[in-house]
Symmetry: C2
Subunit: 196 residues, 2 copies
């Protein structure tokens, strides 16, 4: 039977490998050549697979990117939850959150950068929106534990501040994670503790 929709489930290990190869190929292209170079044909070729196969696992290009994003977000949410649900003191929680963000960005800086760029041209599925708001919720709870008066907007601002500073550092080619951590911490704590 000819399939017009992507196959629902990979049943043989072979097909799972193909799927993984395509996702990793997409990541590799983003990392090495940027968002403009990420075409479906390129991803298939890099994965060592035909375009036909690619479209058996992904209904369209967006869904490949979404898979990548889901992978990243899921891992972040996981780490953030661990911190958020711990009984560490609030300021230590904040520090850990910052560390998570920075580690994440510096693990594969270019990939993180391009992924963020590409994200804006993507309409998120319900599942992805749920993931995003879960992350936002956990961050909000950590920020609130630090400053009970903080509004949701403040928490969002903290995330944004964290993100740009880290992005900029990565883009500049900074490798001294310590220095970046110091600046981000200063920005976040400065923002949250500023009075008058």
């Amino acid at each position: 039977m000819t399939q017009h929709a992507p196959r629902k489930q990979a049943r043989q290990t072979r097909s799972i490998a193909t799927q993984t190869a395509i996702i990793e190929a997409a990541a590799h292209i983003l990392e090495q050549h940027g968002a403009a170079a990420l075409t479906t044909n390129a991803a298939a070729e890099r994965a060592g697979v035909s375009i036909g196969s690619l479209y058996q696992y992904f209904p369209n290009k967006q869904s490949i990117i979404a898979s990548l994003l889901r992978r990243e977000w899921a891992s972040m949410l996981d780490q953030i939850r661990t911190v958020s649900q711990s009984d560490l003191p609030p300021d230590e929680k904040l520090h850990r959150l910052i560390a998570i963000a920075i580690d994440h960005q510096f693990a594969r800086p270019r990939l993180a950068l391009e992924l963020e760029y590409v994200e804006s041209s993507l309409e998120l599925s319900e599942e992805m929106q749920h993931l995003a708001s879960s992350i936002a919720g956990e961050v909000r709870s950590v920020v609130r534990s630090f400053d009970p008066d903080a509004s949701p907007v403040i928490a969002a601002d903290v995330v944004s501040i964290c993100r740009v500073l880290t992005n900029d550092a990565a883009m500049r080619g900074e490798t001294d994670t310590q220095a970046v951590t110091r600046r981000v911490t200063r920005a976040v704590l400065g923002f949250l503790t500023y009075r008058e």
Copy 2:
């Protein structure tokens, strides 16, 4: 004579009007329909001009965007210089800089947003790089007048913080400029004055 390169100079008022119309058309499309909708054909049509004419004034699509950016940056540099070269007290200078950034963003929020997005897929001409570094330089000088120990990176961070918070607010549809100004000020001053 058929021109293969864009005409150097517009000599008749008619041609100047055409040029302006094209730039404003591009701005309008970015504002109303986003970066994806900004095609050269669309810009020409919206300007009430043929694509042929468009290509007599702009060698390629990038150059249209560059013109728009130059217009924005030049006006910003102008305002920033006025503040930077005044003899206001340092903290007042900082406040004015923040106000300039916010006013700029909120004058045409969507345009500013899309322009920033589109900017990343643009390699800047020498002239544009010069403009950018002039702006950076002025900001650095204001930040230094406020805190002589601030490194160039710190000044860049200030700009970035200012930018994201304002962007996010615009994207969220916030219209209360006062509230945004308050948060941005808090973030910037918090960052610059944070101790320990």
